[in-house]
Symmetry: C2
Subunit: 284 residues, 2 copies
Amino acid sequence: MIILEGKPVKEKIISEVKDYIDEGKDKVGILLATDNRSAAVYAKSQVKMFTKYGIEADLCNPDGNAKQEEILAKIEKWNNDENLYGIMLLSPMYRQLNRNKIVESLRPDKDIEGIKAINLGKLMLNEKGLFPPTAVASVEILKHYGIETEGKNCVIVGRSVIVGKSLAVLLLRYGKMGNATITVCHSKTVDIVNYVKRADIIFSAIGRAGYFKASDFKRGAIYVDIGINVVEENGKRVIVGDVEPDEVEHLYAYTPVPGGVGTVTNAILLRNYVESKRRKDING
Amino acid sequence: MIILEGKPVKEKIISEVKDYIDEGKDKVGILLATDNRSAAVYAKSQVKMFTKYGIEADLCNPDGNAKQEEILAKIEKWNNDENLYGIMLLSPMYRQLNRNKIVESLRPDKDIEGIKAINLGKLMLNEKGLFPPTAVASVEILKHYGIETEGKNCVIVGRSVIVGKSLAVLLLRYGKMGNATITVCHSKTVDIVNYVKRADIIFSAIGRAGYFKASDFKRGAIYVDIGINVVEENGKRVIVGDVEPDEVEHLYAYTPVPGGVGTVTNAILLRNYVESKRRKDING
């Protein structure tokens, strides 16, 4: 039974892209237009990550009176900044802001989170573009450990655009890391265990601590845990996944939380940044 | 057991949109840059359909020496024609033509086949846009007969962008005509009958005559046959679906071929045309 650690995957990806970064010159824009605590924690970790690799993070964190025009002006500035190759728009956003309009204003070639329609469409068409890092990371971690998805019964739990749906599209591409039979389950699925118990590979992106137990899965199965859930354990806040690794000996492999998909996701975000920098012509 | 005839569905849709057509003024552009016989037959049927509803069809059918620049100039002309609200680009195209560049040149708001990245991305995001008619028709035909997909085990066979993948995304939307658990099978699926035999609703878009038999499906199942296959029968060319309706009494319902999804697809194409006309602001 193999634990699919994210760290070596991350390190390999970083080693492939880091030479393209101009330290002290390259910048990233991060919009945190919320007072949501989790988003703030995430923003802080992203600033730290980009800074570590020599990319200056311009964190825009307006107070609760932020106006739509101010935000759009900031995006416009980032769009036109020749040394800034990536923009992240954290969720949620203050209620008075029109998120769709803000996303629309973002240049497609700086959309390193792959949230714009044009990039999602390119994903559908299997054209070059910037794709959602979490979905990409879920495939990359398997690839790194030589686990192919071709012909496998892959069950994805969760139907968000940037995880469940994007992952389904990725796994349907041609090739050894595609060609999967995919099933997408969600809150309206009747008897979800009936699907996951037959799966060769389970991708869980529900966001509920311990929703599944490893013992729900069949012998030889692989699970990729995309959930990141904060729970209290003995008075301490700890991060756990969607799957409780109760009995894992019958599995072929699984990704831990923390230290699995999330770790790789950051590396993919950085790779998207570098792709945006190297290929300015993907602008749709 | 109900036969889900396309005709009443088509008639209802047409009745909802026909008043928005300005007869003798509205136009559609159809590019047939191929000498492929099936494409020519299809083009002819499309010209007939649009003409019937008062829309003048401008069929561009260059010979085998067609140059990329000529085609792009034609698209540009259509893009700028204020009375032309829809453009169809038939496949295949002559080998010397760059299909991707031609699709790119098309205005998003005249893309009534929903083949551009921006429209496919809007489909993923569940935003307003122009979506592939065959995928939409497959859901509309069920809706017309009061068959909801919510909570159902829906198995889609075929993974093309404009049918299989688009249909999967449609069936994952929120609502009674979404909220399905979807599985996408294709040529690399291991033991495909194992999936379809459990399905509540089977959508087949393989394009192989009689690939399934109705008796492969469980009691109470519904099948939506998206295949359009030309075969010889007693020396005559006839059109059949992917499913051979051998024994259908145990089913709840099925769509015939011809006269099922294909019939509704034309109506959706016309509806897309009218939507393009009424909502010029969807331009991405």
